[in-house]
Amino acid sequence: MLRFLLSRLLQAVPVIFIVITATFFLVRMAPGGPFDDEKVVLPEVKRALEAQYKLDLPLHEQYFAYLTDLASGDLGPSFKYPGRSVNEILFSGLPVTAELGLYALIIALVIGVTAGVIAALKPNTKQDYIPMTLAMVGICMPSFLLGPLLVLVFGIYLEVLPISGWGAIPGDKILPSITLGSAYAAYVARLSRAGMLEVLSQDYIRTARAKGLPERWVVIKHGLRGGLIPVVAFLGPAFAGLLAGSFVVETIFQIPGLGRFYVQAAFNRDYTMILGTTVFLSTLIVLFNLASDVAAAWLNPRLRAQFQGGQS
């Protein structure tokens, strides 16, 4: 297991390095400097600004300077908001996005696994078709459509829930979390249905039934463990999706999180902010993928035995 972990970790390092390098040069290739669209700036002022942001150095020196800063965890200053560092802005948004993502994930897992297991218990009956059709609706209803629709119904027509903000009014976290989580609930439902169907036809489930275990225990104790491996493996990609989804959801509900900052930085052409956010989010995504792969491997007894066998 340790070897598996190490080899996956070693694979992740070059990926993160590629992301940093590619993003850095892409951003530097962007047409127009960050100060070009300001009002007329005196040449001396412009030169001083460029010196301050190290833009007067040759490209490769800029790159190594950036890597050196990055090694000590410094993402540099923001172009658009003088005096604020990218680190500061990121860490003010991180807790908000993390909380939103967590709620969305909980919604996705609770609803998704429940629906998937219920469907798998009686395949090709109403009990299967109804949740699975709903799941299809969830997949085909993108968050940027579901969000406004929920706002329209619950916020404007029924006036029962607040329609924007985060943590200011009680209940304002409900709609964003549902909006972000619903598509993933749908995917999780489909994955857990497929996984459970596969597992419930295995011999060891028949053994468990044969020894007289109540059906509920067969499903919970023996079924879920194997049936949910695909769901655990899906958590890595889902995390990347949740981050991307937070771009939209935080824009719709005006939530001051990472996603909204990223979209704003994109529109402001705040290049250091874009660069910093990309590097930060990408690293998070790569690490999360790693974690979900390792967890899925750990849950699979055959794979686990293989790794432990390799150790001894």
Binding site: Q11, P31, F144, P148, A266, T278, L281, N289
Partner: protein, 301 residues
């Protein structure tokens, strides 16, 4: 039996006595035609495609027509789906937007298909070290957070439709390459390929007659399921203002305008949203139906 060419007609005489075989495609068609949801999805999709192709001739108003005095009106006899704040006919807007959304979906998927199938077939067929290197590259690209990269590309190089096609296509080819490679790899070791080799068929003929037709099923299924995810990606970017730019429009862009004014004019959000959702629904049902019909497993979930 008309599809069989001259080279195997000799075998035909022998086989004709035995049971008349039914092809994989024939079986698949029978299974698909029993799946009502998939058939309905296919028909709806066909309907939308025909409308998109004919839009310049059948749209009720011209794309540029504005009527600022009229402003936003709910659905009426003159404007079936209502008008937007500039007095533009919403049905016309949705029809033109659908052309763009569907075009992005199909063209970007075609890009992905081309790169992925070629890459996967080469890796799978050559095997060995070439395969290892090629698939390691795919693994690495897989780990990259592409959604963020696409946003980055659109920010840096401007909101160019062509670039949007390429960027989306470049993301989606990875899974295609994996599927194709595993297909080619497993097919190469099958008995019927060995039999073909021992019969002295050339490599080209083996690939054309035996490998490609058998690898086609999963590719068709995955292609059908890639189109909706590409369309979703385009709509996502357009919603954020990073995709299709005015004066062009797409369903994502219409939804984004609709969301801004939904309090006063909810139809501007609901109708474009319905158009997108129905299309995605149809494509997904068709894809699922094809997967069951062609008996393909594990291509997406």
């Amino acid at each position: 039996m008309t599809a069989i060419d001259a080279s195997s007609s000799q075998d035909d005489n022998v086989l004709a006595v035995a049971e008349k075989g039914s092809s994989l495609w024939h079986d698949a068609w029978i299974r698909l035609s029993k799946n009502r949801m998939a058939l309905a999805g296919g028909l709806v999709l066909l309907f939308f495609i025909v409308i998109a192709l004919l839009t310049p001739w059948i749209a009720p108003y011209s794309y540029e027509t504005q009527d600022l005095d009229l402003g936003a009106t709910p659905p009426s006899a003159a404007h079936w789906l209502g008008t937007d704040v500039f007095g533009r006919d919403l049905l016309t807007q949705i029809m033109y937007g659908g052309r763009v959304s569907l075009a992005v979906g199909f063209i970007a998927t075609a890009v992905a298909l081309l790169i992925g199938v070629t890459w996967g077939a080469i890796a799978g067929y050559l095997g060995g070290r070439v395969d290892a290197v090629m698939m390691r590259i795919v693994d690495m690209l897989y780990a990259l957070p592409f959604m963020i990269f696409i946003v980055l590309l659109m920010v840096i190089f401007g909101r160019n439709v062509l670039l949007l096609f390429l960027a989306i296509g470049a993301v989606e080819w990875l899974t295609m390459a994996r599927i194709m490679r595993s297909q080619v790899q497993s097919l190469r070791q099958q008995e019927f390929v060995e039999a073909a080799i021992s019969l002295g068929l050339s490599t080209g003929a083996i690939i054309r007659r035996h490998v490609v037709p058998n690898a086609l099923g999963p590719i068709i299924v995955y292609t059908t399921l890639t189109i909706p995810s590409v369309m979703l990606l385009e709509a996502f970017l357009s919603f954020l203002g990073l995709g299709i730019q005015p004066p062009q429009t797409s369903w994502g862009l219409l939804i984004s305008y609709g969301a801004e004014t939904m309090e006063e004019y909810p139809w501007l959000l609901i109708f474009p949203g319905l158009a997108l959702t129905i299309t995605l629904f149809s494509l997904n049902f068709l894809g699922d139906g094809l997967r069951d019909a062609l008996d393909v497993r594990g291509s997406k979930d």
